[in-house]
C-alpha cells in the first residue's frame, strides 16, 4: 500500500529515527519531495508554495517531534492539509423552494459540460426523484444540439432545443418559461465551451445568467488540466461567480491537482466527480479520496 511519495519520504527521513530528532534540514528535504509530487500532480505553483510552507510549520511543531515514524507523520500532515484545503465534507447543489431549480453549466471547450449535463439530470432524477429538463444553448459547435438531444433522452430528461438559428440567451429564456409551464423540478442549461479570455462569449454567459437566474452555477473542469486551471477558474468566478465545480475525466490517471488549485484560489468546492463516458459514471465528490490521489496513494 505504500506509494511512491510515501516511500521517498521514508527514505529521506530514514536516519531520523535513529537520531531521534528531526532537524530543519530533514524537513526541508522532505518538503522538496512533496513539492515535486504536487507539481507532478499539476497543483498550481503558487498553491504549492504556500502549501509546503504551511506543512513545514506544522512538521517542525510538536506534531512530529519524537514520533516513532516521522516519514509517515509528515505524509499524514500533508494528506490532512490537502483534504481540508479541498473542503472538508462533501457538498451538493442547492434547491430552490420554488421550482424549477435552475442549474447553469459553464466551462472551457471539451471539458465535459454536455456529458455532465445529462449525468447530473440522471443523478437528480434517481437521487431526488426530480423531473428534469435540459436546455440546448450551444449553437456553435457542430451537432452540439444533436448530442444533447441524445444524451438528454438517455438520461430521461426532457430536452428543450430550438436548433442553432436563435441567440443562446433567447433560447435559455424560452427554456425557462417552458420548464415553468411544464412544472419541471429542475432545469439544467448546457452552454457552449468558451475560453475565459473570450470577451464576447463570456459576456454571453453573463447574459444567460441574467435571464435564467440560476440557483447553482457549475464550472466543469477537466481533471487533466495543468497550471492554467487557476486562471480559468478565477476568470469564470469573476464573470459569473460559479458555486461549485464538476471535475471530469477522473477515470484516467491524472492526479487532478487542478481540483485542489481551483478550490484553493476561488474557495469554491468541488461538488461532483465524473468518472467515465457512461451516464451513471458520476458521483458526489470526496475530498479525502482526492487528497490521496494527488499524493499518489
Amino acid at each position: 500500500m505504500f506509494d511512491a511519495l510515501s516511500d521517498k519520504l521514508q527514505a529521506t527521513l530514514s536516519d531520523v529515527r535513529a537520531r531521534g530528532t528531526l532537524t530543519e534540514d530533514d524537513i526541508n528535504k522532505a518538503m522538496r519531495e512533496i513539492r515535486l509530487a504536487l507539481l507532478e500532480a499539476d497543483v498550481n505553483f503558487k498553491v504549492v508554495k504556500s502549501f509546503t510552507a504551511n506543512v513545514k510549520e506544522r512538521a517542525l511543531g510538536a506534531d512530529v517531534l519524537g514520533q516513532l515514524n516521522p516519514g509517515q507523520q509528515v505524509v499524514k500532515i500533508v494528506s490532512d492539509e490537502l483534504t481540508s484545503l479541498m473542503g472538508g465534507a462533501a457538498a451538493g447543489v442547492s434547491f430552490s423552494p420554488r421550482p424549477p431549480t435552475v442549474i447553469l453549466m459553464a466551462g472551457l471547450q471539451g471539458s465535459g459540460k454536455t456529458t455532465a449535463t445529462a449525468k447530473l439530470a440522471r443523478h437528480l432524477r434517481e437521487q431526488n426523484g426530480s423531473s428534469v429538463a435540459v436546455a440546448a444553448c450551444d449553437v456553435y459547435r457542430p451537432a452540439a444540439v444533436d448530442q444533447l438531444v441524445k444524451v438528454g433522452a438517455q438520461a430521461g430528461a426532457t430536452v428543450y432545443e430550438q436548433g442553432t438559428d436563435r441567440d443562446p440567451v433567447d433560447i435559455a429564456g424560452w427554456a425557462l418559461d417552458r420548464a415553468k409551464q411544464e412544472g419541471k423540478d429542475v432545469l439544467i442549461v448546457d452552454t457552449s465551451g468558451r475560453l475565459h479570455v473570450d470577451e464576447r462569449l463570456m459576456d454571453e454567459l453573463v447574459r444567460i445568467r441574467k435571464v435564467v437566474r440560476p440557483h447553482t452555477i457549475l464550472l466543469v473542469v477537466d481533471a487533466m488540466t495543468g497550471q492554467d486551471a487557476v486562471n480559468v477558474a478565477e476568470q469564470f468566478a469573476q464573470a459569473v461567480q460559479f458555486d461549485g465545480v464538476v471535475m471530469t475525466k477522473l477515470d484516467g490517471d491524472a492526479r487532478g491537482g487542478a481540483a485542489l488549485s481551483v478550490k484553493a484560489v476561488t474557495g469554491k468546492p468541488i461538488l461532483f466527480a465524473s468518472t467515465g463516458e457512461k451516464l451513471d459514471q458520476f458521483e458526489r465528490f470526496h475530498p479525502d479520496r482526492m487528497a490521496q490521489r494527488i499524493l499518489g496513494m
Binding site: 507532478e40 499539476d42 459547435r141 457542430p142 452540439a144 438517455q154 475560453l195 495543468g226 484516467g252 491524472a254
Partner: protein
C-alpha cells in the same frame, strides 16, 4: 526574466515561469541547469544573451523529428487519435478545409467515431463547412469498418488524402487502446503502408498527464506527430516541450480557435518565445 543581477532568485524565477507553462519539473530542471552552467562558465554575459540562449535551448528541444506531413502517398491516410475532448474532430475539419482550399487537394473524411453521441453528425457538419465528402457508419458499429470503407471510397474517387476520425479515449483504457491498434491493422490491410500519418491531439491546457497520454498512445498507435490545440487561450502548452524532449515526438500543427482557418504549422521559435511571455 533576466533583469538586474543574475543570482539565485533569477533561476528561481525562470523555474517558476517554466513550471507555470506546464513544462514539468524534469524538463525545467534540465533547461535551467544547462543555462546556469553556461552562465557560470562565463559564456553568457547580460540579460539579453541569457534570454536569447534560453529561447534557443527551448526551441531546440521543441524541434525534433520530422515536423512536416508527407502528402506524397496515393492516397495519404491520416489517422486522428487522442484523449476525449482534445479537438480531434475539429482539427480534422480544419485540415480538410486547408487541404482542399489552400492546397487544392481532394479529400475524403471517415467518421470512425461511432461511439460518442452525435460524433458522426459533428464531423458531417465539418465536412459541409469544408466542402468535402464523408463516409459514415451506423452508431455503435465497428470503427475499423468505417475506416476501411473511407479508404475504399477515397481510392475509388481518386482522393489525394483520406482523413479518419476516431473516438476519444483515455490512454489508460486498455480495451479501447487495443481497438485503436485494430483500426490501424484494418487500414493497413487496405493500404499496406497506411496510415501514413497518425496525429495525436494534445489540449494546450493539459498538465503533466499529457506526457503519459503521448507515451501510451505512441505505444498503441505509432504516433507521428502532435497537434497542440486550444493555443488561443492563456495556456502555453508547455507539456508539448516535455513530450518532444522526452519522447522525441514532434509537434506538427497547432490549433488556435474553433473556425476552419484556425490551424497553423508549428514553429519552434515562436513556441519557445510564447512559452515565457
Amino acid at each position: 526574466l533576466f533583469e538586474g543581477d543574475v543570482d539565485e532568485e533569477t533561476w528561481e524565477r525562470l523555474e517558476e515561469a517554466l513550471i507555470m507553462a506546464d513544462v514539468g519539473a524534469t524538463t525545467t530542471a534540465k533547461v535551467v541547469g544547462q543555462l546556469e552552467q553556461e552562465a557560470e562558465s562565463g559564456g553568457l554575459e547580460g540579460g539579453e544573451a541569457l534570454s536569447r540562449r534560453l529561447q534557443e535551448l527551448l526551441a531546440d528541444i521543441a524541434r525534433t523529428g520530422q515536423d512536416r506531413i508527407d502528402l506524397r502517398h496515393d492516397p495519404t491516410v491520416i489517422l486522428m487519435v487522442g484523449v476525449n475532448g482534445t479537438g480531434k474532430t475539429t482539427t480534422l475539419g480544419k485540415i480538410a478545409w486547408h487541404l482542399r482550399n489552400e492546397l487544392g487537394k481532394s479529400v475524403m473524411l471517415g467518421a470512425a467515431d461511432t461511439f460518442r453521441a452525435a460524433a458522426t453528425e459533428q464531423l458531417q457538419g465539418w465536412a459541409e463547412r469544408a466542402g468535402v465528402p464523408i463516409v459514415t457508419g451506423p452508431e455503435g458499429s465497428d470503427p475499423g469498418a468505417v475506416a476501411w470503407d473511407a479508404i475504399v471510397q477515397g481510392r475509388a474517387q481518386g482522393a489525394d488524402v483520406v482523413l479518419i476520425d476516431t473516438a476519444g479515449r483515455l490512454h489508460t483504457q486498455d480495451d479501447l487502446m487495443a481497438e485503436l491498434s485494430k483500426v490501424r491493422r484494418v487500414i493497413a490491410k487496405q493500404l499496406p503502408d497506411a496510415p501514413h500519418e497518425t496525429l495525436l491531439t494534445v489540449d494546450a491546457t493539459t498538465g503533466q498527464n499529457g506526457l503519459r497520454q503521448a507515451r501510451l498512445f505512441a505505444e498503441a498507435a505509432e504516433v507521428d506527430g502532435i497537434v497542440l490545440t486550444k493555443l488561443d487561450g492563456t495556456a502555453k502548452g508547455g507539456i508539448a516541450l516535455a513530450i518532444a524532449g522526452e519522447l522525441g515526438i514532434p509537434v506538427k500543427l497547432i490549433g488556435v480557435g474553433e473556425a476552419l482557418e484556425d490551424l497553423r504549422p508549428f514553429d519552434a521559435d515562436d513556441f519557445a518565445q510564447a512559452l515565457l511571455s
